[in-house]
C-alpha cells in the first residue's frame, strides 16, 4: 500500500464513510440534523462525494432523510443504479425503530431518498443486495425483491418449498435471479428422535422473486443452532456457508443459484 494525503474535497477522517463500487468510490457524511417543519422529527442531511480512482474527488448531491445518526455503510449496485443504506440508522416514525434509510442514484452524483417504502414499513430489514437481476431486501420481517429499487414485491415464503421454515438469514441478487439463505425444521429430530426438530441449513432460488424453489444440498448438517448465509462474489458466482456448532462449516459455490459444488 502507499500512503497519500488527499486534497479537499476528498473525504477526511471526520465522519466520512467511503464505499467502493465497480466504477469508483463514493463517500458519505452526515453534516446536520434539523427539526422537521412540524417539529415532530429530525431531518438528517448527508453530503456525498464521488471519485473514479479514489484520489481525485468531486462533491455530489445531498441526501435528506427523516432521521438522525445516519452512517451510510452499505452500497449495492443493481439494474437501476446504486442503492445506499444504513441498516443501523433510525428513521423517525418507524414502527420497530429499525426501518431502513435508503437512497438511490443512477449515476453516483444525484441522490433520491426513498421515503418510507411500503416494503420496509414493517421494519426489520437488515440486508440489501444488488445484482443485474435486481435488488433483494431481507430481514426479520421477510423478503422483498425489486427490479428498480423503488417498487418492491413481497416474497410469500409459503408452500412446499418453504415447509418447516424457521428463518431467513440473508439474500443476494445476481445475474440469474435471487438466492436466499436460512434454516428449516426437519426432517431430522434431536433428542433420540423425541426432542425438538433440528434445523437444516437451506437455500432457495428464484428467477424473478415470485416463484421459489429450494435447492438440494449435499452435506448440509442439521443441528440445534444451524443456519446458512449466502455471499455474492460477483454477478455470476455465489458462495453459501453453513454455520453449525456441531457441523463441518461446509460451503457451496454456484454460478446459477441452483446447482452447487461443495467446496469443503
Amino acid at each position: 500500500m502507499n500512503s497519500l494525503s488527499l486534497p479537499t474535497p476528498a473525504p477526511d477522517g471526520n465522519g466520512w464513510t467511503v464505499v467502493g463500487r465497480s466504477r469508483g468510490w463514493l463517500a458519505f457524511q452526515e453534516t446536520s440534523e434539523d427539526d422537521s417543519p412540524d417539529g415532530q422529527s429530525e431531518i438528517a442531511t448527508i453530503d456525498t462525494s464521488h471519485s473514479a480512482d479514489g484520489l481525485r474527488w468531486k462533491a455530489g448531491g445531498q441526501i435528506k432523510w427523516d432521521g438522525s445518526g445516519i452512517d451510510v455503510m452499505n452500497l449495492v449496485e443493481g439494474p437501476s443504479g446504486l442503492l445506499a443504506y444504513d441498516f443501523e440508522g433510525t428513521v423517525c416514525g418507524s414502527v420497530s425503530g429499525f426501518d431502513l434509510p435508503v437512497a438511490m442514484s443512477a449515476d453516483g452524483i444525484s441522490w433520491k431518498s426513498i421515503d418510507d417504502p411500503a416494503a420496509f414499513a414493517q421494519g426489520g430489514i437488515q440486508n440489501i443486495s444488488g445484482g443485474s437481476a435486481g435488488y433483494i431486501a431481507t430481514g426479520l420481517a421477510g423478503v422483498w425483491t425489486s427490479t428498480d429499487g423503488m417498487s418492491w414485491r413481497h416474497a410469500a415464503l409459503t408452500g412446499k418449498a418453504f415447509k418447516g421454515l424457521d428463518g431467513i438469514e440473508n439474500g443476494v441478487a445476481f445475474a440469474d435471479g435471487y438466492v436466499i439463505a436460512g434454516q428449516t425444521y426437519g426432517p431430522e429430530t434431536g433428542g433420540c428422535g423425541e426432542g425438538p426438530t433440528l434445523l437444516t441449513p437451506s437455500l432457495w432460488w428464484s428467477a424473478d422473486g415470485g416463484a421459489w424453489t429450494r435447492d438440494t444440498l449435499s452435506g448440509a448438517i442439521p443441528g440445534a443452532e444451524a443456519w446458512m448465509d449466502v455471499y455474492r462474489l460477483n454477478d455470476h458466482l455465489l458462495l453459501a456457508g453453513e454455520s453449525n456448532p456441531g457441523g463441518s462449516g461446509a460451503s457451496w459455490a454456484s454460478s446459477d443459484g441452483r446447482t452447487r459444488g461443495n467446496r469443503s
Binding site: 500512503s3 473514479a52 455503510m73
Partner: protein
C-alpha cells in the same frame, strides 16, 4: 472465514479482509474458489490507527488512518 473476517466486494471481485490485533491479512479467490493470501508491501497501515472502513473499488483497496492519511492498495499479479 471466521467471525472477524469481512468480505469486500467492488461488484466485480471479492476479497476477504481478516483483521486481528496486530495485522490485517487480505485474501483473494482463485477461479476454483480456494483462497490465497495477497502479499503486501509499501506503507502498510497500522490496524490500530485505521478507521472502521476499508473499501474495495475498481483500482484496489482504499482505507484511511486517524491522521487523515489515505492508503491505496493496488493488487498486482504474480
Amino acid at each position: 472465514m471466521s467471525g472477524d473476517d469481512e468480505l469486500l466486494s467492488n461488484g466485480q471481485q471479492t476479497l476477504i479482509l481478516s483483521e486481528d490485533a496486530s495485522e490485517t491479512t487480505i485474501y483473494g479467490f482463485r477461479d476454483d474458489l480456494t483462497v490465497y493470501e495477497l502479499a503486501q508491501s509499501g506503507d502498510i497501515p497500522d490496524p490500530d490507527d485505521l478507521f472502521e472502513w476499508t473499501t474495495f473499488g475498481p483500482t484496489g483497496l482504499l482505507t484511511m488512518d486517524d491522521q487523515g492519511n489515505t492508503y491505496v492498495g493496488v493488487p498486482v499479479a504474480g
